[in-house]
């Protein structure tokens, strides 16, 4: 164990930092879920990142990355959040589908899909859940029927109803879970890509509790896609989705840096209010919660460094994906509840555009978003079942 960065790692950090200082927009962008304009502004930022080769640093160079290891990825993320750079509009692509493609895709599929993903040219949504299949994902009904196109090439005809698709309102592509007609449960499923603007696809934005169209429901009616769009083998969809879910819950989706940056801002908020607010300053419970938020963020970071080191040494991500997901989602809610408690009588007030432009966190909106954490990427109840059954060996 050596908890010191190498000179190369420090040099990498310096390089990331100086590029971000020169390139991060001075004014925060409108949220990518709020409007089409906000979404496109984030797409533009992804192109800027790509121009510096920072789109997805861990990917091989031939697929638009830099070929760096997971410790450098953590360093990149730390600098990214330290710089207050825009949220990653293509996170479903780069953090979830990307690593899955890397593991299960053919060379041709990687060449086709990864570089435009790294560049933000094609932005992805996930299309797994259905109205009747949430936590019980194996209950999906959407079908993929084998067919031939006019030239005699293999293709699929997709039909069904997907829901809770994050970025689904504005994204270009979706990766969906479908089943062979007549198949049941985990059998007969395939992971298939489709364009969200192609004939037969209808998407209806769903407003989140903050009013933004953050996700969508998607109707598919005889949507024809080439067999090339299937990832992995026919019938392997469930297996691949579980690997993706491992990335989603485990390492990639939620960087520790995100929470460390928020905890640092919380400490700053606390220190300012301690002096200026009679109520908050006299409340020792608040300070204990600020300390707790900091410790939680630190613990999550240390845990991820541990996992990254293990993966570099050749291990595979295991059930820690589920413990991680519970930990980051719960610490996020605690952190933001603490911020609102410190804000006290001002907690209900929407922040002014001027204050957001000055770099103040949007504690209220971030709090609302944190409430989704225990639900998406597999509800925390399901994660606790997974831990009990796969880590502890309790019966199903």
């Amino acid at each position: 164990m050596d908890l010191n960065y190498t000179p190369q790692q420090n040099a990498f950090r310096a390089e990331v930092r100086s590029w971000l200082e020169a390139n991060v927009p001075k004014q925060p962008l409108e949220h990518y879920d709020a409007t089409r304009e906000g979404f496109e502004a984030h797409r533009q930022w992804e192109a800027t990142l790509k121009s510096g080769d920072w789109g997805m640093v861990t990917w091989p160079k031939e697929y638009g990355g830099r070929g760096v290891d997971l410790i450098q990825w953590l360093i990149f993320e730390e600098e990214y959040y330290r710089a207050g750079a825009p949220g990653r509009v293509n996170q479903n692509g780069i953090f979830l589908l990307g690593p899955t493609l890397m593991e299960f895709g053919t060379h041709e599929q990687k060449q086709r899909f990864l570089p435009p993903m790294a560049a933000g040219e094609e932005i992805w949504a996930q299309a797994w859940s259905e109205p009747q299949a949430g936590s019980d994902l194996a209950g999906i009904r959407a079908t993929a029927q084998r067919a031939k196109n006019a030239n005699g090439d293999d293709e699929y005809v997709l039909n069904g109803h997907k829901i809770w698709s994050s970025r689904g309102a504005f994204a270009d592509w979706a990766f969906g879970l479908f089943r062979e007609p007549g198949s049941e449960r985990h059998k007969g499923t395939s992971l298939i890509f489709f364009r969200l603007d192609q004939p037969g696809v209808t998407r209806n934005p769903i407003r989140k509790i903050n009013g933004h169209p953050g996700f969508a429901e998607i109707f598919l009616e005889d949507v024809r896609v080439p067999a090339f769009n299937r990832l992995g083998d026919e019938g392997q969809g469930w297996h691949i989705c579980m690997a993706t879910a491992g990335f989603e819950r485990g390492l990639m989706l939620r960087s520790p840096a995100r929470y460390q940056a928020a905890a640092a801002k919380l400490a700053a908020l606390w220190q300012a209010r301690k002096v200026n607010s009679r109520d908050a300053g006299a409340d020792p419970v608040l300070e204990a919660d600020v300390i707790r938020a900091f410790m939680n963020a630190e613990a999550y970071a240390l845990s991820i460094y541990q996992t990254a080191s293990r993966l570099i040494a050749g291990a595979k991500i295991g059930p820690e994906a589920s413990t991680n997901k519970i930990f980051w989602s719960e610490l996020d809610i605690h952190l933001h509840r603490t911020a609102l408690a410190i804000l006290g009588e001002e907690a209900e007030l929407l922040p002014s555009a001027a204050r957001l432009a000055a770099g103040d966190p949007d504690w209220l909106d971030d709090y609302i978003f944190s409430l989704a954490g225990p639900i998406y990427a597999g509800s925390n109840e399901i994660q606790r079942n997974i831990i009990a059954e796969r880590m502890l060996g309790l019966p199903r």
């Binding site: 164990m1 460390q260 400490a267 541990q306 990254a308 519970i326 109840e381 502890l392 019966p395």
Partner: protein, 343 residues
């Protein structure tokens, strides 16, 4: 940057698990409680024979010259068996302090010798009845008193396998060894308490899991019910996010700065909270049995209670985390910060 344990460390931890698993079983606990003793001389001799008591002594003093991280891995295993003997406090804290103060002291030559330690921060001295001598902090100086030169007043404790004492002594009947690094000693002791907390926590979960697989109600093992599962999953999550903190605290303890102290304190807080959560969950999962003397879970609850208050209360340790948080740079690039680097 490499947050992995070496093969040697993993092997050493494995060996320790086997040795303690064989020599400190529920039958051993039961027998000791029946006999009203909290020290097993045979087990201590085995630990000494296998080098555990000289682990952290310098090699020129006949020790193995290993570091806090190695000892912390041993302490996890000690916690897992609720080890009654003072392995971490004597071999991990007191003996290394004595070696630093008096490298030629005759006690260092005896691997079976036990030295108790009495920092100003603790109102009672643990294991003093088994000690050949006691290191005592007073007014910034360090005194070594022989066991026969002090009066020990037993302070009854709820943990049947741990003995603590109030100490009556005279500095005139003790050896003045001068100033010592009590900060380091306290950090080490807090770290090893945290590491034991990890072991205590895991044992509580494991005991409850074993019971939940066996015990049936409504025709099914109770471990198949989500309400039971979720108690134990939540405890396991707490363990998983205390463990890397303990390991990082152990690896960084040598810096002895605001950052390293805060990390030790963080480790002690969360590891013993995990142990507390796990012990209470285990009692709940065991139902009426969990509230009985016959089931072993109470031993883990009680040791957790003792270690939570010893070597700095939660309030003390929260204060040290606050000192780091509110007086030093924070943020995503500061995870492994050191005073020297920020000076």
């Amino acid at each position: 940057m490499d947050f992995t344990l070496s093969d040697e460390q993993l092997m050493f931890a494995d060996t320790t698990r086997t040795l303690l698993g064989d020599t400190c079983t529920p039958e051993h606990w039961r027998k000791m409680m029946e006999q009203d003793v909290a020290f097993d001389a045979a087990r201590w001799a085995t630990l000494a024979e296998n080098g555990f008591t000289v682990l952290m002594l310098p090699e020129n003093a006949g020790g193995l010259g290993l570091a806090e991280l190695d000892m912390a891995l041993i302490a996890v295993e000690a916690g897992y068996v609720a080890l009654p003997e003072p392995l971490t406090e004597s071999a991990g804290v007191a003996m290394p302090m004595l070696a630093a103060l008096a490298p030629d002291h005759s006690l260092l030559a005896d691997p079976k010798a036990i030295v108790a330690i009495a920092p100003a921060i603790n109102p009672v001295v643990a294991y003093a009845d088994q000690a050949a001598a006691i290191l005592i902090e007073r007014g910034g100086r360090t005194f070594l008193a022989q066991r026969e030169d002090v009066t020990l007043v037993a302070a009854p404790t709820i943990d049947p396998l741990r003995r603590v004492f109030r100490l009556e002594w005279e500095s005139t009947r003790a050896e003045d060894l001068g100033p010592a690094d009590w900060g380091l000693a306290q950090d080490r002791a807090a770290l090893f308490a945290a590491a034991q907390g990890l072991g205590l926590a895991q044992r509580s979960v494991d005991l409850a899991v074993a019971y939940a697989k066996e015990r049936t109600q409504f025709g099914k093992p109770i471990g198949s019910y989500q309400a039971v599962k979720h108690h134990l999953s939540s405890a396991q999550v707490a363990i998983e996010f205390a463990r890397p903190v303990v390991l990082a605290a152990a690896a960084g303890i040598g810096a002895q700065d605001t950052y390293s102290r805060a990390r030790v304190s963080h480790a002690k807080l969360v590891a013993l909270e995990a142990a507390d959560q796990a012990a209470r969950a285990a009692i709940q999962v065991h139902g009426g049995m969990g509230y009985s003397w016959e089931v072993d879970v109470h031993l883990f609850l009680k040791r957790t209670l003792a270690l939570t208050g010893a070597w700095g209360t939660p309030a003390h340790h929260r204060g040290r985390v606050a000192a780091r948080l509110l007086s030093r740079p924070t943020g995503p690039d500061q995870t492994f910060a050191r005073e020297a680097a920020n000076a």
